[in-house]
Symmetry: C2
Subunit: 122 residues, 2 copies
């Protein structure tokens, strides 16, 4: 994929649907044929295929056809990239929170020192 | 107001856009006013506000208006929930991969034992 950011958009969009997240959940347990995947969903096959297409276009899954059977499998590296992006944003936020806490603690210690000096004065 | 327990579909949809992800990146460094957030984006304010609405509806950010200034801040717990969902899917996949590897190793050891027995026979 030429644009890494565009790619993440497709991955998050693919995960923004409960049916597609359920498919990801099933494929986590191992590859499955399209018909086996579709069976538990009360959905017409063309609609189900559209969900698979969105997942495959995003790189969250890949599929392979042997004879008349198309088998899908998860691509965990794609999920890892999305997970990593979120983790990075949290890390920036947490680093800032840590700096804020350290700064608040420094102010508190400075206040305590000032109070002590005041009490020492006659 | 954004719901703290916003659905995962809304969270992933909110992250499925490069402008909204850029806003998340900026807010990771600390709260910011809408006007400060909008300044670097070559976008009309109403379009930018729509992006903020999507983020706030999903619970990824929250905003607060004091006087005429609306300030936005990140809600890292919402990001954590999305991150955790992805991590859980990967964990299921990795547990399966580990079991597959263990099973393949067992088959390999059984083959070796069988070969040894064959060689011992006259």
């Amino acid at each position: 994929m030429a644009n890494q950011y565009a790619h993440l958009s497709e991955v998050f969009y693919a995960l923004a649907d409960p049916t597609r997240r359920a498919i990801v959940g099933v494929l986590g347990r191992g590859p499955a044929s399209v018909s086996a995947l579709a069976a538990p969903f009360a959905m017409a096959l063309p609609s189900f295929m559209k969900h698979l297409c969105v997942l495959e276009r995003s790189g969250v899954i890949r599929s392979n056809k042997v004879g008349r059977v198309r088998t899908c499998e998860l691509r965990p590296k794609t999920l890892s990239r999305a997970e990593q992006w979120i983790a990075e944003q949290r890390a920036v936020w947490e680093a800032r929170t840590d700096r804020m806490s350290a700064f608040a603690e420094r102010l508190h210690q400075e206040d305590l020192s000032r109070d002590k000096r005041k009490h020492r004065q006659p």
